[in-house]
């Protein structure tokens, strides 16, 4: 291939294939980043009016606002709770689903459907299920003689409800990747363990878990970066200005689209981007490593 693609003309040809995509990404992703940095130092306003530089005032406002710290805590807590519950549930499900059983492909497909559906639309419908007065969940709980809490209006439970819907939606994702990990473990390793009379627990701890770990790591990073953006469920279930569930994205919405403060919103965006870039760097390194390992194993 070197003979064809090493020459100067084909180098330009290569660039011409990739440039359109790169240009669009630079215009709609990279440029806005720099633009955010600029806007963050201004008093830009959604209702119009002269935009002026105001130095770092947005950042002093931001860092001294308890709602900023609150949004970070809520987001972190959300990522931690939802991702860990989904991981454990998904992995347990994958263990149960690993071996053959009747109608396995059909069952798998049905289980996977929630993660493909529109998050905001389905969480809106969950509002009907969780409604404290006529929701089906409380009617079932009542029928079983259990307490019927106000899932969507009680300050203690709003966050729990959002995590619950997220878990319903994304456990299949963890299950799918866990299954891939479990299926990739060659059968002879289990046979060898059986000959050595290793206990079930030892097999699980020494073989199953470590051999699935790289893929589980990938799953956690993919889900984690996604959960970090959480906006849809919050908007649909509690609204952007509820302090018990206000994630960073919801906070930005409130600041820009309800309070019309674009400059302050841009400062928020910059802070979020710094965090996202840190996580993304970690992720990219991990992907790179994983690809190299897969390349070695496959090649």
């Amino acid at each position: 291939m070197t003979s064809v693609s090493g020459s100067d003309s084909s180098r330009w040809l290569g660039w011409s294939f990739v440039t359109p995509a790169l240009l669009l990404l630079l215009a709609l992703n990279l440029f806005p980043l720099f633009f955010s940095i600029y806007l963050g130092f201004t008093n830009a306003d959604l209702s119009g009016g002269e935009t002026q530089g105001i130095g770092a005032r947005n950042y002093t406002v931001l860092f001294s606002d308890a709602r900023y710290a609150g949004a970070i805590t809520t987001t972190a807590l959300f990522v931690l709770c939802s991702v860990s519950i989904e991981l454990v549930l998904g992995f347990v499900l994958a263990l149960a689903l690993k071996d053959r059983f009747p109608a396995k492909p059909v069952v798998l497909t049905i289980l996977l459907i929630p993660m493909m559906l529109t998050p905001v639309v389905l969480s809106l419908f969950w509002n009907l299920i969780l409604n404290g007065h006529y929701g089906i969940l409380n009617q079932i709980l009542g029928g079983l003689g259990l307490p019927q809490p106000q899932w969507l209006t009680s300050d203690d439970l709003k966050f729990v409800s959002i995590v619950m819907v997220d878990v319903w939606m994304w456990t299949p994702f963890m299950m799918l990747i866990s299954l891939a990990g479990l299926n990739a473990i060659p059968g002879y390793i289990y046979e060898a363990a059986e000959i050595d009379r290793a206990s079930r627990l030892t097999v699980f701890r020494r073989i199953t878990l470590p051999m699935c770990a790289p893929l589980l790591g990938l799953a956690v990073l993919l889900r984690g970066t996604d959960a970090l953006k959480q906006f849809d469920l919050v908007m649909a279930m509690t609204g952007p200005n509820d302090l018990t569930t206000q994630t960073l994205s919801a906070r930005v919405y409130q600041v820009v689209f309800r309070d019309y403060k674009v400059g302050l919103g841009a400062a928020y965006a910059v802070v979020i981007l710094v965090m996202v870039i840190a996580v993304a760097t970690l992720f990219v390194r991990y992907m790179d490593q994983l690809q190299r390992q897969q390349g070695r194993a496959g090649g």
Partner: protein, 285 residues
């Protein structure tokens, strides 16, 4: 052990599919039955306040062509917006992504790895962090509240997925195919269109499905940049929540059924590629 496995599977299957089942049932009810204090499980020919049966009706589906109180258009107007924006952005993303993936797969581009990871990292940006500068940009180009504005954003949003998925698919096509074509005197471009594209057709279809579903499901950009003219279905539903005449649940449920049906069909179609799709082609099965 076998029993435990069966219990876990059946139990979770019931829990996971119940909300969808309930959605289907709700779409067949009247408004009174959706908020009844006696849950209505069984569609029947008649309804009585004390029983679990309700009279099944397609009224909610018929009502979809009438605007809900407080909105200016019917459901299908917003559905058309979703279809337009979804398909056009998908076509563009797959086209650009395939070209880009081909370039990275077959040519030596300096820093290609860095570029690829830059492309991947754009997927991590939260819409709400990107939207602030984009809003100001769009205002000065009059792109706010237009189909084009959202199509451009969804194209760029899906490019990372399209490029990475297509790179995986194109890497699997043996180079010998196009080398033979090049020896036969095909130009690069002709070899790309007549050799690579037909070989990668399945991959392109799978990629298109994933891009379409992401665009179909997107809410952050649509809610913030497009709340009026080119409003998509998710934004429309979200807006019905505080409806003055009570949330029109049967109509919402009927609309939701119509809206999620294509996703379910597509999911079934690409079920063997789901793993690849959700991991950006990192795991191939």
């Amino acid at each position: 052990m076998k029993l435990l496995r069966a219990l876990i599977i059946i139990g979770y299957l019931a829990l996971a599919s119940f909300p969808l089942l309930w959605l289907g049932l709700t779409s067949l009810k009247t408004y009174e039955d959706t908020i009844s204090a006696r849950a209505k499980f069984v569609p029947w020919t008649e309804s009585s306040p004390q029983s679990v049966t309700f009279q099944a009706t397609f009224e909610a589906y018929r009502n979809l062509s009438k605007p809900v109180a407080g909105t200016s258009h019917d459901f299908y107007h917003y559905l058309l917006n979703s279809v337009l924006i979804g398909t056009l952005s998908t076509l563009t993303a797959v086209a650009l992504g395939t070209l880009c993936a081909y370039g990275f797969s077959r040519f030596r581009i300096p820093g290609s790895k860095d570029w690829l990871f830059f492309i991947l990292s754009t997927r991590f940006l939260p819409p709400l962090a990107v939207v602030v500068p984009v809003l100001v940009m769009y205002r000065s180009f009059s792109l706010e509240n237009t189909h084009l504005g959202l199509i451009l954003l969804y194209t760029s949003f899906n490019l990372s997925l399209a490029t990475w998925l297509m790179k995986g698919f194109i890497d699997e096509i043996p180079r010998a195919f196009e080398e033979a074509a090049l020896v036969d005197g095909y130009s690069r471009l002709r070899a790309f269109f007549q050799v690579i594209v037909p070989q990668a057709a399945t991959g392109m279809a799978v990629t298109a499905v994933f891009c379409l579903i992401s665009a179909w499901n997107e809410f952050g950009f649509a809610m913030t940049l497009n709340n009026y003219e080119a409003k998509t279905v998710p934004v429309y539903f979200a807006g019905l929540q505080g409806n003055i005449e009570g949330v029109p649940w049967p109509q919402i449920a009927a609309g939701m059924m119509i809206f999620v049906l294509p996703i379910i069909v597509f999911t079934v179609l690409v079920r063997n590629h789901l793993l690849r799709g959700v991991t950006f082609g990192t795991i191939k099965q």
